[in-house]
Symmetry: D2
Subunit: 344 residues, 4 copies
């Protein structure tokens, strides 16, 4: 392996660390050579154990380092679009966690900067790289279920995040459902043209007090005529529930859950099987590795990223439409992708 | 058992025959003593084999027979409300297949006649008597999943009915989804207050040409704050798909499908398990027996019917709202049960 | 259907009643016209409700009735061989519950009488007619798993029978495992050539005190080179456990259990699914109907019975060998079917 | 963590590499500082990529290195016992792959050397560390299924190994079934007192030509009165099949398989779910990490190894008895653990 991609990590929170460790241990073609984090003190031990040479408090240092080929933007959402623009101008390839931004204009600016710079940009919708969802996508592509009629997605977190997190999360649709919007686009290979959202506060009323909801059912219409529905909950006591179903003209694909173990206890009560994986870090362990492998492969072999900037923009568009739908109590059309805007 | 309930069957089509055979072979406390069918010639062999004494071409003969305690109304939907009124006036207890009528006023008239006559009326929502759905209902009643948050119902027929049938069916929502509306009310123990329907013609375009749809996603809001979603398709190549899921504050109940066999073939291709039951007659075999047993039990022991006239009216109300929602592209509130009407 | 098979039932215990009711309600081509039972008083109401005309205390009356085409022998095992001989001599076709006898000579005599009389004899191994096991058999016949290598059968009763029953049952191998020996022959389409039995008293020590065991593992060798293993228990708290697995050169077939419902409760504890069917009457409801349908079909259309006298003899041979194996602590060869005897 | 365990790896074949990589990436408390392999040239790149400092052609160098705390013996089986003795004499703690040896005397010598030296020895039965089997073990320990009655183990490799491998493997019972013998002991918490083996050559006749079998059913009796049965095949086209079932007085535990994905395709053919994991490296990925973590934990915290030398000896004893049983066609008693010998 002549060439190793040199990566600068921006933001060493939970997901940033996952990526860095995956690169270290599972992706021989890449190497994290620098990390920037506001709290650079806190990450020193972690970074040095991992053999990361440079630890910065400021991401600017990474932008300036000519040895660095690519950046992983894993900092808080409000910094994403500005960092994309800086990285693009610095000629770095970019992997950015979702969402790019909550503001469509800022997303457009970021995408334009990327386009102008001619760098590659991949957005962190890791579920596309999960073996089960990937297999569903492949089976659909092979025509195994014919034309798609209905897509159903169930996504339930084991427990709600902290109120602090929820306040800056952009709300359920832009924080949680955004993954499902991406999955809907991925599996349908079509764009969402209308969204209707119903939602409520059922898990924790303090979530409602900060203006968010914790439970939702979102109906989608697609450009290809298919229908979709997503159901979300911020609480699922039996584990992280991640299911997908795609009904087509020739059959149906079901993606089921991943249990903690395959051990069943059968007694007079019945058959008790295990809870589901705890949460996304465990459930999508392989997917996180695969998405970075795919990114590195794009850079090494000059391929188009498998999750593009437009794939980053569209789910935000749908999420904003869902928010508006919930507020106004009516379905909201989406004019995309040409205009890229909501009907207002 | 001193007393046997004497039953007159009106309409000996597919479902009427199922009930008569179930009574003959599985319900010792009842006896079909007469059958009325427009095509009385065609049913003679069937009826005599079953030991039914009287075969009429006109249901009036059943109404006039004082020995008959109860009627089973299994004729075409357009005759239901008039027959209910006649039977009530004749002092017969009534089991009537769904729906009572497509017209709310005629339903109200029928229910008033029943009330005035003081006879018992049970509506044929047989799914409530299916052991799996019944168990779900019981577990909810025992508080096993706490407060209900989301109800999801999947109902897919193996293949669409004939166009002739569809033309007089009242449309997908009043013919097929009506069972799901009932299931939603049954499991939630609450009333639907708003409905939003999305639908399309994906299975067979001739269904669209006669003004109906064959695929739908219907979002429900309940008086108790819960949300619901129903997805329907008129075609499911892998068999009759009947699933329910109820998410509550303490857990989730899933009712899965009933396969034809429990035989799995595992090869280099993977694990191939069997298709589902063919259709409702097979899938709800036990439920059809249980619902008539329950009806007979009401008569013998003077109990309230487990599926009331109001249970017959409400799903029609929701179905009409769903039709309106599809037409107008917006959610439709339902003022029920007090007023019993749609917002117009 | 011009001709109805006229059946005389001998023995109206649990299984005899099941057959008579199945004929009455599910098999239009046959009719039980007489029943003989030692306790004829006890069955009067049952028989008259079912429309059985003649009720006898003595099976001889059935043998003498020229209008009767066939007998169902459902009396206690010790009467089977003599009744077969009487029926054969009287020119009746015979359906006989398993086992024919515990004594090989008496079985041989019975089979010779049947052969001499030229009547048809079918043995009551109903599991062959279960849709799931039948499908396994058919898949094997279609070559879906290639050559058979290993057959595994799990058979566990929900609870042990009474000690009174066990005392006259012939022991675990001839009472319970006999069904599994038949299944092994049915699925392998080969004869057992050697058996090794390990067993113990683990459920109830009083079973041991009357000389029987309640738990066993039996290894089989087949003439075609395949291996087999059966595991039995007289107690299974999670329901009646009936599984089969057949490993072949191209794949594997698994026949799983039939749960009471398809309802799953998921909570913090995990996913709790339902217990299995209670016992054989419920589990093999369809199979009991199908085996009598097949018998009636043989008589009406002059076909060979699907479960022959030799199919009745062989499992007894294997069962006796298993008993001997347990006693002597070594594998016992079986010289069959030519000689039909155990090595001694 | 002040102290890191310094490990010398002996044998860098497939399993040796797995352990070294796991230590490098998943076990921060240990470090592979040297590797010895007969073909030291072939492993140079691999070792240096992994940061292993010393690469030797001769294991003696590892024994002489005073900085090394422990050795992992992953070389061919015929070297295990001698290496254990050398390592023990050198004062190294020892992790040794199964089996210790095919010869009971050499195993005894090795265990005596370990005892004399006072070093720790852990044997590589990794399945004990699989989360699903571990959970079964824990549930049994918690008394959830009461007293154990029957243990059933299914173990089928996806495809047979090369003939070269089979020739030196010790035969099916000592190469493959040995893991199942260990599982039987682990779950039963009891010793095997008798074994009866039936087997055949069904997968590939060349396996028979080198004196081995490829298919087997092995019946076990345990000191605590329980029974066991293991079924093995060297070929399973649907993937690596690893199941366990433990029937107890209060219930039953079933450990099922791990599919490649959770994606199901349902069509007119039925429901097609995915094949199983390919083979042990994938299936027991977590288990391989956990067993070395446990070994390291023993050294750091001076605990007893979870899989002892006696746990290494007993399955060899059972395997030799199984071989003898197959040869002589009779059950073979095992006098263990006191005498540790076979009846001869």
């Amino acid at each position: 392996m002549a060439k190793k991609i040199k990566v600068g990590l921006i933001g060493a929170g939970r997901i940033g660390r996952v990526h860095a460790e995956n690169i270290r241990f599972n992706i021989p073609d890449a190497e994290v050579v620098a990390v920037a984090d506001l709290y650079s003190d806190r990450i020193k031990d972690w970074a040095s154990n991992l053999g990361i040479k440079h630890i910065f408090g400021d991401s600017q240092k990474i932008m300036e380092d000519e040895a660095i080929d690519a950046v992983l933007i894993c900092s808080s959402t409000d910094t994403h679009s500005a960092l994309i623009i800086q990285a693009a101008r610095a000629g770095k390839h970019i992997f950015c966690e979702k969402p790019i931004d909550f503001d469509l204009n800022r997303i457009q600016e970021a995408l334009q900067a990327v386009e102008k710079a001619g760098v590659k940009l991949q957005i962190g919708f890791q579920r596309r790289f999960d073996p089960s969802f990937k297999k569903a996508y492949d089976l659909i592509g092979q025509g195994k279920i014919g034309d798609i009629r209905v897509i159903k997605i169930t996504s339930r977190d084991p427990a709600p995040p902290s109120l602090e997190y929820i306040k800056v999360s952009g709300g359920l649709f832009l924080d949680m459902t955004i993954h499902d919007f991406d999955m809907a686009r991925y599996l349908s290979r079509s764009e969402v043209t209308e969204v209707y959202a119903a939602g409520g506060v059922m898990v924790d009323k303090t979530i409602g007090e900060v203006g968010d909801i914790d439970t939702a059912i979102v109906t989608l219409k697609f450009a290809n005529g298919a229908l979709g529905v997503i159901d979300n909950s911020r609480q699922s006591l039996y584990g992280y529930d991640q299911r997908v179903e795609v009904l087509g003209s020739k059959g149906c694909i079901l993606v089921g859950n991943d249990p903690l173990t395959h051990t069943i206890l059968s007694t007079e009560e019945g058959f008790l099987s295990d809870k589901l994986q705890n949460f996304f870090i465990e459930r999508y362990r392989e997917a996180y590795i695969e998405e970075i492998k795919a990114f590195v492969d794009c850079l090494l072999n000059d391929k188009a990223p498998p999750v593009t900037g437009m794939d980053g923009l569209q789910p935000v568009l749908i999420g904003l439409a869902a928010k508006k739908s919930l507020l106004e109590g009516r379905p909201i059309p989406i004019n995309s992708p040409s205009g890229g805007g909501l009907e207002t």
